[in-house]
């Protein structure tokens, strides 16, 4: 029962409390807060920390670290006998595996985009290697590359060619790694496939009416309209290739005679085998600068060869 106001008493209307609204921008930040917190804690902080530690002799083992200035960088460029070997190997790996991977993924996507039976099954088959664990894949590839019993050499023999010592000859170990890198082009292929399916069919029909053959259509329609996708895949492949590690670590461990010592493997050895985290951080910073510079270059150059319309 509510009390009635006494006659003559001034009645004031009680308004319900006003519910304060949060600005929309703040709500947005609240919703991305879990990601933001994780990004700061697990990405931004380690990156900044890596920059800082690259100027120290940090071991991460609790031993007091000392500021060493640019000494880690000087060591990398002038005193570390494996630094330039790792850089050269990585450039070789990237220079061949990235273009080859993009061309192979593009060609595969073109084939799977054609109207042939069982394309869904083929797409699954070609994508499957991308989700196979690296260790399992490497074990399979070790068998494939075997000199005496490997199927790759068996195929060469059928063609009348001599067997190749894929993993024991320093001249062939890197090509072996590059061939193996093609194993995981499934992800790029799927992106190309999506791009190809976005090209309006009318363009091909119009070109056909104008007398264009398949070759003309490929170079005048498909490739130009696919350049945004090629650009995306190129950037992603470059970054991934710079970070290539698993195959070299498990299959060759950098050998024979350092022929497959990739940059990341060299960095890993310094960080986790020698506990030279400060030096490894400097190597990581150098890698960051290279990747950043190259990405910037590709990005700038994209204005000349990528067509968004």
């Amino acid at each position: 029962m509510t009390a009635q106001p006494v006659s003559g008493e001034r009645v004031t209307a009680t308004r319900p409390p006003r519910r304060r609204k949060l600005p929309r921008w703040l709500v947005g930040y609240v919703f991305i807060a879990p990601w933001l917190v994780a990004f700061v804690a697990f990405e931004a902080y380690p990156i900044l920390s890596g920059f800082y530690h690259s100027f120290t002799d940090w071991t991460a083992t609790g031993k007091a670290e000392r500021f060493v200035g640019l000494d880690n960088y000087v060591e990398a460029f002038t005193r570390d006998p494996l630094f330039w070997k790792a850089v050269t190997n990585t450039i070789y790996f990237i220079g061949v595996s990235v273009p080859l991977g993009i061309v192979a993924a593009f060609a595969l996507a073109m084939m799977l985009n054609s109207k042939i039976g069982g394309t869904t099954a083929y797409r699954t088959i070609y994508y499957l290697p991308s989700v196979v664990p690296a260790v399992a894949a490497v074990i399979v590839w070790v068998f494939i590359f075997e000199t005496r019993r490997g199927i790759l050499n068996f195929a060469l023999e059928l063609l009348g060619l001599p067997a190749i010592r894929w993993l024991s000859d320093p001249n062939w170990a890197m090509p072996a790694l590059i061939i193996m890198s093609l194993w995981s082009i499934g992800a790029s292929m799927i992106i190309f496939l999506a791009g190809l399916q976005g090209i309006p069919q009318e363009l091909y029909e119009a070109a056909e009416v104008d007398g264009a053959n398949g070759w003309h259509s490929l170079w005048r329609i498909t490739v130009p309209l696919m350049t945004p996708t090629i650009f995306f895949n190129l950037i992603m492949s470059l970054v991934a290739a710079f970070q290539a590690f698993n195959n070299a670590f498990i299959m060759t461990n950098g050998g024979p005679n350092n022929a497959t010592l990739l940059y990341m493997l060299h960095l890993y050895n310094n960080a986790f085998r020698y506990f030279r985290m400060g030096y490894a951080s400097a190597l990581a910073v150098v890698l960051f600068i290279i990747v950043f510079g190259l990405t910037l270059f590709v990005y700038r150059s994209s204005k000349r060869w990528v067509y968004y319309s």
Binding site: K21, D57, T61, S168, F275
Partner: protein
């Protein structure tokens, strides 16, 4: 839709955040689920202390370890041990990350070089106090075995299995000798080894079909042969590298010549042993395709598994008979010497229990001793190896013990992994013909000495 309908009130928002935070706290406070051990050992209903035990005793050894844990937990009802087997490939990375995280497992299996490194950086606890408090008699270990785990006069671990018996064993497949109509023999010198290897190595256009022997192509192989030629890795005071001595150059020259002349080059050897790891039945040793083998003591366990009926004998690693100072000897602790450590970051309340478990798997004959005995491999505890039952599984057990006696405990620095890799660069350069053995070693020595000098300068 009005603009308001797309905004949240502060109250709703706070409720949502409160709910999320509460759920998070509840989840964080929930007890960790202990991994099930494959042995299915019944755990005590209520454990006061749980010891997380990281090790690499996988495959069949995991079950043996689980049995030890079950017995230990029965004896110590207040302690529960979680057997957490780590993948060997990324063991170093996991170990390092765990220690750097500040919340490492209470007991970690570590190689000798790692133990020294961690001890030097103050990451693990010295155990002298526990040893004294528990009246442990360290003389039950071979001196070379327990000696591997001292750093700056403090003890940081106890060994299991042996660090020795790694480089001094020479096994010969007598089935192959007999099938070829040859007399049973085991090479004792470099010359005898060369003769036997030449006789049994078969090479075709694709490489090696059968191998008499390989002297190896890595820095560890070089070190093993170096000690059978009167050389050493470091000077006695560990201030200088010494592997580039005359004996060192002679050793590497001999290895390169052996590999080129008898095996047709380093690529042939790599190809021949390519494929799955050493402990698989596909390896040439288990398929009568390798006459002489220089394995570590784990071979006895694998032979029981993969080829129990093989006729074989063994001796010590051949030495250079043309060098008056040389003799057969093995290296203890250069690569495979395993110990168990308690991290400095282990909570005070768990340290006693952690040491108790460390003691169980290293010092106690019925646990650590039993564990290696089940694998037919020697124990770092002398008394365990005197058990006559060893002869039932290994008729040549007396030679295993002889090899342990011949082992030299090599003093190494905490930066030894780096030094070994520098040597490896030189050894590879020599094998691949990039440099002569003398030049390759000189270059490796220069680099390794830089690493050693850096270490000592930082130590002050």
């Amino acid at each position: 839709m009005s603009n308001d309908s797309r905004t949240l009130s502060r109250r709703t928002l706070l409720k949502l955040m409160g709910g999320v935070a509460a759920t998070g706290m509840v989840a964080a406070c929930a007890p960790a689920v202990a991994p099930t051990t494959s042995g299915g050992a019944a755990a005590p209903a209520q454990a006061d202390v749980t010891i997380r035990f990281w090790n690499v005793w996988g495959a069949a050894r995991e079950e043996l370890m689980n049995q030890i844990i079950a017995r230990f937990e029965e004896k110590n009802p207040g302690i529960k041990v979680q057997n957490l087997v780590q993948p060997f490939e990324r063991r170093e990375e996991n170990l390092f990350t765990a220690l750097a995280s500040g919340d490492p497992p209470e007991v970690l299996m570590s190689s000798r070089a790692e133990v020294l490194r961690f001890a030097n950086d103050g990451l693990i606890l010295p155990i002298d106090g526990y040893v004294t408090a528990n009246n442990l008699d360290l003389s039950r270990f071979y001196p070379s075995e327990i000696g591997n785990f001292y750093w700056k006069d403090k003890l940081y671990s106890m060994p299991m299995p042996t660090g020795g018996g790694v480089t001094s064993l020479t096994l010969v497949n007598y089935d192959m000798l007999r099938a070829a109509g040859k007399e049973d023999q085991t090479p004792a010198t470099w010359t005898e080894l060369e003769e036997m290897a030449k006789e049994f190595t078969e090479i075709d256009d694709k490489g090696i079909v059968k191998i008499g022997a390989t002297v190896g192509t890595s820095a560890s192989d070089f070190f093993a042969w170096l000690y059978c030629n009167g050389g050493s890795i470091y000077s006695d005071d560990l201030s200088k590298v010494a592997f580039d001595s005359e004996a060192g150059v002679q050793t590497l020259e001999w290895m390169v010549n052996f590999t080129n002349e008898i095996n047709g080059g380093v690529q042939n050897v790599t190809d021949f042993f390519a494929g799955p790891g050493e402990a698989t039945e596909a390896q040439p040793w288990y398929n009568d395709a390798q006459l002489i083998n220089f394995p570590n003591v784990s071979i006895f366990f694998h032979m029981q598994t993969y080829k129990p009926d093989m006729q074989w004998d063994m001796g010590l690693r051949p030495y250079n008979a043309s060098n008056a100072d040389a003799k057969s000897q093995g290296l203890s602790g250069e690569t495979f010497a395993w110990g168990y450590v308690v991290p400095e970051a282990a909570p005070e309340a768990k340290r006693e229990a952690a040491f108790k478990w460390l003691q169980e798997i290293t010092y106690e004959e019925e646990s650590g001793g039993w564990f290696v005995m089940q694998q037919g491999r020697p124990s770092p505890i002398k008394a365990v190896n005197e058990d006559p039952s060893f002869y039932e599984v290994n008729p040549h057990w007396d030679k295993v013990l002889q090899s342990l006696e011949s082992d030299v405990s090599v003093q190494i620095l905490p930066v030894h992994a780096q030094v070994r890799d520098a040597v490896n660069q030189g050894v590879q350069a020599a094998f691949f013909g990039d440099a002569s053995p003398a030049d390759a070693l000189a270059q490796a020595a220069q680099q390794a000495q830089g690493i050693v000098d850096d270490y000592w300068s930082q130590e002050g």
